[in-house]
Symmetry: C2
Subunit: 336 residues, 2 copies
């Protein structure tokens, strides 16, 4: 394998000094236009490839973004990650993605590894748990870091947090169901005591209270499997319940599957509203009503906020919540 050409080869080929080539590479305005063209031609002729390791050694930014996701297989997070990655790519940044599978040890390991690779920034949807402050090593390394979707480190002055306004979503969903005449509304899914569960529940609990109705919560994993299990149980034990707000669309889709199996007609006998409005929800039967968090847009916004930070020095606010809306479909309205 032939050695790759270096900046020095390019300089010789173009008849300039290597400093000049370096300036061209950085799009400096100091270089005369004709010189720039000569250099560009030399680069093309030689098939020169920029060596970021060498640049990194001299202090240049790596152009690498660390994106750490607690559950990459969940379509909600996949959508977020794909959107953020593509936004970064458009601006010339590469993204190192790691799935931590909710494991704080794996998370600690990938953080260390990414620090070694000198990532220019971290965007983290963190895992819960773990003994130490997971972000302390990042802080020591002085790398700009945003927490997204989940806040596990309370120091939002150091690690700004961005998410959706889940509480407002809970309010919208609950009022919608009450408007439709439901009174025995339950909240299904979400692990107990998790901040995100509390947020997504809070609007429901508050709105139920405001209407003198009694809230009731079935905690559990935010998965299809759990939704399905709960749905199968409704049959035996809680026939008076007439509606459910689900922690996530996955839970709601699981309930849809379970209720279909036991012959309960969703939209008629029983109403369901999900959370996230993932793509699949508009294609399910019956089509699922859901609190829409535009995740693709959120991923783009988060990536752009991070770029504004590392490129222009505009630090994001400590906490930023993006608005949500309620998408009403068959699962609450009934057959259209």
């Amino acid at each position: 394998m032939k050695k790759r050409p270096t900046i020095l080869d390019v300089a010789r080929h173009a008849g300039v000094s290597k400093s000049t080539v370096s300036l061209v590479l950085q799009n400096s305005t100091l270089v005369k236009e004709t010189t720039r063209e000569d250099v560009a031609k030399a680069i093309a002729d030689l098939g020169y490839v920029y060596n970021r390791s060498a640049a990194g050694l001299r202090g240049a930014a790596s152009g690498l973004i660390g994106l750490i996701i607690n559950d990459l297989r969940n379509p909600f997070f996949t959508e977020f990650a794909a959107s953020a990655q593509m936004t970064f790519a458009q601006k010339g940044y590469s993204t190192v993605i790691a799935n931590t599978d909710e494991d704080p040890d794996i998370q600690a390991q990938v953080i260390d590894s990414m620090i070694e690779h000198d990532v220019s920034a971290f965007v983290i949807s963190p895992s819960y748990g773990g003994d130490e402050q997971p972000f302390d090593r990042i802080r020591r390394a002085g790398i700009p870091t945003m927490q997204v979707l989940r806040q596990v480190d309370e120091r939002t002055d150091l690690f700004p947090f961005a998410s959706h306004d889940y509480k407002a979503g809970g309010v919208l969903a609950t009022e919608h169901l009450i408007d439709l005449g439901c009174r025995n509304i339950v909240f299904v899914g979400g692990l107990e005591d998790r901040p995100i569960t509390l947020e997504r529940m809070s609007g429901y609990v508050e709105t139920m209270g405001a209407h003198a109705l009694v809230p009731s919560v079935f905690h559990g994993r935010p998965s299809r499997v759990f939704g399905r299990e709960i749905a199968l149980k409704f049959l035996d034990s809680h026939r008076q319940i007439d509606a459910a707000i689900c922690f996530s669309d996955l839970v709601a889709l699981g309930m849809l599957s379970g209720l279909a199996e036991v012959g309960i007609r969703v939209g008629e006998d029983f109403k369901i509203v999900g959370f996230d409005d993932i793509e699949e929800s508009s294609l399910a039967y019956p089509r699922l009503s859901s609190v829409r968090c535009d995740t693709a847009l959120f991923g783009k916004n988060a990536a752009e906020a991070m770029l504004a930070w590392i490129v222009d020095g505009e630090r994001p606010p400590d906490t930023k919540r993006y608005g949500v809306e309620l998408t009403k479909r068959q699962s609450s309205l009934g057959a259209g």
Copy 2:
């Protein structure tokens, strides 16, 4: 922000030379055990972080794997990517992931960017199309590269290909449906003339022929939306059809949704077999029969094959196909 300690600081702190520290960092067997411990302690004391840029400049491997995926939002590919990434992470490799969204221009761009970052290897599930040979720049850079799941470059001697034995899967699915008494079996989804479509169809076409039955294919995007559309059309025009083999589970799940909507009982009036056996398929109602390609295992296998290549120099075979099996569930067997 204080400057990070370097190998020289560690050397001073441990009372050795920096060469020795470097050897310790590389787990060299040349270093005396007590010396190694001294160095390890100094590293911990100082909070030293290995600088991979500097190492890269001297020719060390970057420990970065480029993973390029044509459609990261599709759960089939998400599962593959997450599994491969976690396997690499376990061995200390970080993974740069890029979603190309089936766009060959984006693909070319991220390949260039990853080459600049000096990735040690590429694992690519490529996009179709584009003017130039997308892998030519990789070849010039001399980076080990595997094609997975889709073969777009015929030079498998340069870019080994690994996938599932889709043809065998098509045979299994078709024979299963014929055994159940179906005769008017169609194949639904998959873009025309794509190699992967041809592969997944081929077992179906062949088996139909062997039973003197006429194959019939409805080409289309491998999406829920397409599956749903086709299902809604069955109602009007093709009542004689009694079963479908779908290009992917996404198509099958779309059909399930559409058929539920028009009141056709899947498993009884109409039988469906999907392809991929994604997690959701076992939770759908009715539960979906599917050709199981163990994607998580495949991701792990592909990652390990790549590691064997770059670590031990064991090049994968030109073409490797992993076995598939048929998971029979309600959508073909009927209600259990």
